[in-house]
Symmetry: C2
Subunit: 651 residues, 2 copies
Amino acid sequence: MSYRRINRIPDDWGTAVNVQQMVFGNRGDTSCSGVAFSRDEITGEATPSGDFLPNAQGEDVVSGVRTPRDLHDMRKSMPEAYGVLMEILRTLERHYRDMQDTEFTVEDGRLYMLQTRNAKRPAQAAVRFAVDAVSEGLLDKRAAIATIDAGRLDALLHPTFARDAEFDVLAEGVAASPGAAKGAIVFTADAAVAAAEDGRKVILVRPFTEADDVAGFHSAEGILTSEGGKASHAALVARGMGKPCVSGAAALEIDVAAKEVRVGDTRLREGDLIALDGTAGLVTTDDVPLQDPEVSEHFETVLAWADELRILGVRSNADTPEDARKARQFGAEGIGLCRTEHMFMAADRQPRMRAMIMAESEEDRRRALDELLPLQQQDFQGLFEEMRGLPVTIRLLDPPLHEFLPSAEEVAGELERARIEQSDDLDELERTLERVHALAETNPMLGTRGVRLGVLHPEIYEMQVRAMVRAAESVGEAPRLEIMIPLVAYEKELELMRGFVERVVEEEVKGLEVAVGTMVELPRACFVADRIAGVADFFSFGTNDLTQTALGFSRDDVEGKFLARYLETRIVDRSPFETIDKPGVGWLVRLAAWTGREAKPGLGLGICGEHGGDPESIAFFHMAGLDYVSCSPYRVPIARVAAAQAAAGDQ
Amino acid sequence: MSYRRINRIPDDWGTAVNVQQMVFGNRGDTSCSGVAFSRDEITGEATPSGDFLPNAQGEDVVSGVRTPRDLHDMRKSMPEAYGVLMEILRTLERHYRDMQDTEFTVEDGRLYMLQTRNAKRPAQAAVRFAVDAVSEGLLDKRAAIATIDAGRLDALLHPTFARDAEFDVLAEGVAASPGAAKGAIVFTADAAVAAAEDGRKVILVRPFTEADDVAGFHSAEGILTSEGGKASHAALVARGMGKPCVSGAAALEIDVAAKEVRVGDTRLREGDLIALDGTAGLVTTDDVPLQDPEVSEHFETVLAWADELRILGVRSNADTPEDARKARQFGAEGIGLCRTEHMFMAADRQPRMRAMIMAESEEDRRRALDELLPLQQQDFQGLFEEMRGLPVTIRLLDPPLHEFLPSAEEVAGELERARIEQSDDLDELERTLERVHALAETNPMLGTRGVRLGVLHPEIYEMQVRAMVRAAESVGEAPRLEIMIPLVAYEKELELMRGFVERVVEEEVKGLEVAVGTMVELPRACFVADRIAGVADFFSFGTNDLTQTALGFSRDDVEGKFLARYLETRIVDRSPFETIDKPGVGWLVRLAAWTGREAKPGLGLGICGEHGGDPESIAFFHMAGLDYVSCSPYRVPIARVAAAQAAAGDQ
């Protein structure tokens, strides 16, 4: 791994060193230029001067024109300069209280320092440095943790391509979810499920993914799409599951109908091997060896310190027992968001869910719900067993019902064919299309979903509440149930649903205590947070939807359509779905947190959007006074470290 | 017209009157019960007692079981009691300073007053009372205007069913846009356009309407839909144009393909007569005579007083010269919103607009834009001629481009057919479907529209700016041009577009002054209003979209899907698209108005959402310190009166 960067000279470096002079001058065995790191893990590189062009000695190192040699070689060839360099590096490290990335030049045996700065470093080195710095007395725990770039710790938690692997890049895409994976190409969720049942490892390859592809995510090693960015459906779901994903690999022409991927002259078919690195956004057809993550003792030490220092709690978003187990292993203190709809996406649930939606009478709907109840109960049981004694926040059904049906376009095409061929399916297809039309919405994100479903079809929420209470009762040491009503804008919505939920709970188990709260994810809710707090035990900020509404950015549309241009023109510095937009979304969070808690001092406050795993956003939530962040299992260690850094920042 | 209501006894009526006693007692020629109004325009009704059941004398009047007689009859039969009643009515009117709606009973010749309250009255009577009250010295102008229910003035500005007309109601729907209309049924915009060209009067009848039906709105007398409520596309566009509309007449089964409307056993076909009353939400197949609105001298007097009293300016939303003329007639002081996209919907523009969108190179796109430029210039010229000397705010293209293309479902069906029939259109259809897919968005309201289009395709905005500057130059006395950039969330968006617009203006006419501002319609924009104000000459609040985003309510989806249930369960009292949601949307408006003007004291502040024509919302905008409201032409007189009432409320 080589570090080649053009660095500016720090302002505080002063004028003691004349850079021009360093780079000119004589050549010979007693001259070289290089980059040195103040720690052994990264040895740095030096390039002995030879036939250099004038003025280029330093630049050649930086630009990578010369192949540099390991710094250890310098010890042999220029022991004196090397010794001085090492001494200076130690001094610099003590001064800056961080590992240094330094450029230097040696001319006629004399060492000149060109510049220094805090070193960017891979996660493993960062963790190692923090532990060493404390044991050497260079830094205290607080300061040591502050030197870690928490966002990079991800790399320690996923398999990677073997460090020395050489491979040809077939396509580059967005590094949508970290980790590396390889397997045979499949084009549909069904094929992925079938392959997993046969024990075959596959990569799910699609132009883009939708809700009904999620079953395939569980079965695949990784996900590869040709469309969409870091906030695409594929990216979000993959990150949530900790599955490696490369999205928006635009060079790939993915023809699902023909079961073929075309890249220039290359044609790949179902079953062909493909490998992807979701940390770097690379795709290859080479059989690259994978390397398991090394969760070192050092890392455990750092995490233990983080837990001592942090004030923010860290929970995890988890929909399945596997997620919950992983989350607990990574140190989650509860589940901050269990999305119950993912339970309806599984292959054995979908037909029942569709029957429920297609039901023409309440009786038919209740019958379909009765069949779903034991399945959902079973899902909850698995989850609760993993989370004994810890709080578990369960969100009642949130997405619009049409997400569980095929698309109008799909049905219309089938229908046209059925008409021409006078098929027997005609009636059924017409009925389906009618229902799809009736449920269709222009802007489903702002349509009939969340609490609005609960108000319209309380029988769905009723089934869910019964399932979770029965599941909690059947587990020895029950978790602390927190029932969350999504998308509340009016206090009356929550009041109605709270009354309803409490009645159902009481019917199931007399006197059982459950907390009832809401997901705060609409700007209006933030403005009337004091009123909503009157009927809520807790708020959990849904910063994904709050970002969508406050900015008018549909997550599904924005990344693919114009975010790239917005980054290019510097309208935004970063996707607001990665790091919270402080002036807009951030203010809404603060407003709701403050006024909500003013109205009810004991109000629980958490955040369960994607931002819960982003260090910069975590620092913001710490300042806003929230109780905890909840993020995907694989980001829990990151959140623990980031929360500690945020707390350290208060000092 | 009869007034039958069960009124509660006002608290301040005291115990002087024993109501039970009034309603019991003897019957005979010297007894009656009735409702009296304190003004001649509404004479009131009295029911002589006869074979009444005990305890029912008053209730029978109120419930309408008895057919009451005109109060003038009482003058003859009980002149004494009548005289006393009239005297009491005058006293009550002086006391309450408003016209009274009073219940009384006469028993054995003795008059008992049962209750009184300020009278609900039709618009005409209200206007008449206000003028009389001032000329009689009962009230001053301020107080007289306060007695008018501004929202009802609408009725004075549209044709109605003749007052005495009898007709059978075929269906009831939502009173979506006031006024009555009748004509032959047509099912498509094209048929409406063709009929209008032949001079035939038609009603456009559709299950629901979409952007590409708008051409048909202009040609039809009225619009009738079976789906959607008061905020449906049909309702909004019709109200904007002042066309009568009944929406959501659910009893109608409208089969566009079969060109048939079914209601029970009745079948109506294209060309059959239909009449609708958009003020009452009624549909009939009877040939009801229509009655023209009577814009009385009294009304003119009231409007003149309103203009003296009000502080808020009143502008109109207008997209065509016809709208602008109507708006100016009704007293608009400028155009607050000209939606340029409506210009692209006209039949002769759509193919060119589609060519622009389907263009595969910038060159092709510019060619298509070059063809659109003179058409758009011509549209602006017509508008500017009507608005000489007044401010005209023109919004650059706002809706997502796919709105100008057919739906994916439509194309998919055609494509399937073309495939089976091996048609020649196959390639073209495939290309179209591909483009439709590429432009498709999950939530178009939150997608690639507004300023985002300007950032992605500046050539579209360029064409529009050139067209408007050239049009302004060609009109003798040019209007004051205000160019409005929609959907801004980041100050940088406006900064970029402002620079771009100013360059184009400068290229066309050196030194021409135009104001550049933005539509404030996203919550984020309100939070960073101070920064945005730094690069804006004015803000115009787009409260429609601000309501959609702040509440997470997609206008197109909410009314049809769950608003009825929300009203039923009292979650909301009124549609937030009719009257501004003060706690949420209202706060955002205040926040942006205050911080925006703090950053730039001379910042212009207006509002151009539907709320600009709603009296309660107008009172709010007055308090928030805005400069003007802008509403559809037909609501301008309402806004003038409401603004005066708001100003009077300050006293």
